[in-house]
Symmetry: C2
Subunit: 425 residues, 2 copies
Amino acid sequence: MGLVVQKYGGSSVADAERIKRVAERIVATRKAGNDVVVVVSAMGDTTDELLDLAKQVAILPPPRELDMLLTSGERISMALLAMAVANLGLQARSFTGSQAGVVTDSTHGRARIIDVTPGRIRSALDEGSVAIVAGFQGVSQDTKDITTLGRGGSDTTAVALAAALGADICEIYTDVDGVFTADPRIVPTARKIQKIAYEEMLELAASGAKILHLRCVEYARRSNMPIHVRSSFSQHEGTYVTRITPEEAVEQPIIAGVAHDVSEAKITVVGVPDKPGEAAAIFRVLADAEINLDMIVQNVSAASTGRTDISFTVPIADGQTALTALAKAKASIGFDSTLYDEHVGKVSLVGAGMKSHPGVSAQFFEALAEAGVNVEVISTSEIRISVVCRDSDVPAAVRALHTKFDLDIDPDDDAAAVVYGGTGR
Amino acid sequence: MGLVVQKYGGSSVADAERIKRVAERIVATRKAGNDVVVVVSAMGDTTDELLDLAKQVAILPPPRELDMLLTSGERISMALLAMAVANLGLQARSFTGSQAGVVTDSTHGRARIIDVTPGRIRSALDEGSVAIVAGFQGVSQDTKDITTLGRGGSDTTAVALAAALGADICEIYTDVDGVFTADPRIVPTARKIQKIAYEEMLELAASGAKILHLRCVEYARRSNMPIHVRSSFSQHEGTYVTRITPEEAVEQPIIAGVAHDVSEAKITVVGVPDKPGEAAAIFRVLADAEINLDMIVQNVSAASTGRTDISFTVPIADGQTALTALAKAKASIGFDSTLYDEHVGKVSLVGAGMKSHPGVSAQFFEALAEAGVNVEVISTSEIRISVVCRDSDVPAAVRALHTKFDLDIDPDDDAAAVVYGGTGR
């Protein structure tokens, strides 16, 4: 007998049939003797359809009203899911983010959870009900207005509720079998990871792995809430994201996996005067434009000119904004020009074992060299090495690293092949 | 400078274009110097679509969850309308029924308003915003669950909020120009009524006039809140539903209008033993089946048999339920048989002036006789005379009464013809 929080995404509840399937899984979990709290996203494309309506009536919809509009999506899915569970003979009660006690700041569109007071959820559990909670939404502490949490918001809701309720596990259901050592669409021999440390998952998420949002993993790490990422379309065990003790770490593989990301562009600011404060001025301009920089590199100054080049990557979606902001500041900063390149990709190797295995970097660059991949930018953390290369080189780079670090599934391992093969992504 | 509450129904906000048109009307009212509170229904067919989804996932959706589901409809329309108003340069804030302080009992699906505490609405008005409120919904005082008010719920929300805020007028926007002396589809010479007493409007609504729901008029009468029923597609003045003082009453026409209703069926219980308690037993059976009886008539008992017949009308939708309930009780009550007839219609003449004009009844039956209409059941109140006849006779009966009581529009009255003619219903 435990307390399980389950989160189902939009594709898991996209239509009436899928909602009924999810209801069956919830009932099975309850009948296995667990208390169950479910966090649910809006059905399929509901959010996009609502956004489209908003654009039809207003050029710049006020963020407060946009949040009011979008949160109706989860209201629909959670009520339907509660009905479907009740139809199978269990008591079920749905709760909005506000009713569930998800208290946030007032930043509409990307509010942060500042408190969770799940009194009504606990009462529902105490009376034997399954509690079904709207993901992605909360209520502002100051204004009592409805807020949304932004990207990955439903996952974060689930982890936050699990932490506040002291759940045994937070299960995040998705359309893949778990976290893989690489994207199986690029590396068919990728393995499903059975257990991964929060820190590794954070680095993978930050490096382009789409399966869990950074914010949700960060929340789980801080509250030490284990996450079980698994498929809503199968009964297989997925991937546990959890704290790994130093004793356990010895048993863990040195490398967790390889991530890649082709959603960024590289901007180079050419001919920046090589004197203190110049780089800071450039980054201030970009910060004021609310652009998140990722990898940054500065070349050694050419002695003859006293000028240097600064390169960094930004999300492609922010590319034009960044260039415009830089163009405006060109005269005051005094650089020569900017170069913009969308045909770049980022490849990252992540593993907590790197810390104690000094040979990893050497192997990393050997693998890329052997695959003929030219490295343009390098960045590292304690447990990650990332490079920027041509986007067309990304698949070869990912495969080369995956093989070099012995991550490929053993072709003779039949049991594993049944579980991990074929399902793909 | 006044406070105006406006209510827009689902057809007035059925798509983005109509929402923008409603927004323009709201802005015009605000710019004319009024504070404006808007109550809005769900867009077009949203409610039906949500009900359809509910039926797909559950045979008997729990009423609490059904209310949670359906209330998302107004959440969408109110947020979009607030965006559209903001897009025209005014501040607008949307509020759920709960946020607006609409407190109800816990009867999901047909909750009754027991209190209105519009503190947040008043704050929004004080800061210069237009307040946009979800119709049809509230929050239960006891359980804090979301409730819906049932049929006519948005009109009732508007009147209740107007009363609680001490508004100057509650404007109910619809797709017709106001309340007419008869259905213009049957009587092309029907006049738009400029001013009608609450009591008359109640009788018209109860007699089949669809334009305002009984409950909303009753709430307005109790709180003495004037209603202005008007078209959202034109700028014409509509009909004021209001208190009429004895002094004003002298100026009012004797007859307000003619209503008809073909949505009822007539049931006759044949051969009921003519002794005390028999009729009561029949009506108890029907009350237990939650059937609303309308017109009831009992024939004089035939001395030879000691038995009598009892006839009454019920909504056609309840017909089968009523017959089943009666069949079950046939042995215990001891009647002979039941007759069921859907081809009946009800025609009613309503007017506060009847009280002081004793000739009305005579004229009423003369008109029907002249039109060759056979009367099957008669029922009267202080300000209404109703009869049941063949449904095929209804148009002739309505036209005969309309002409007999001088309600036809004057064909020479050009100004009136421009305003009232042609628009139909």
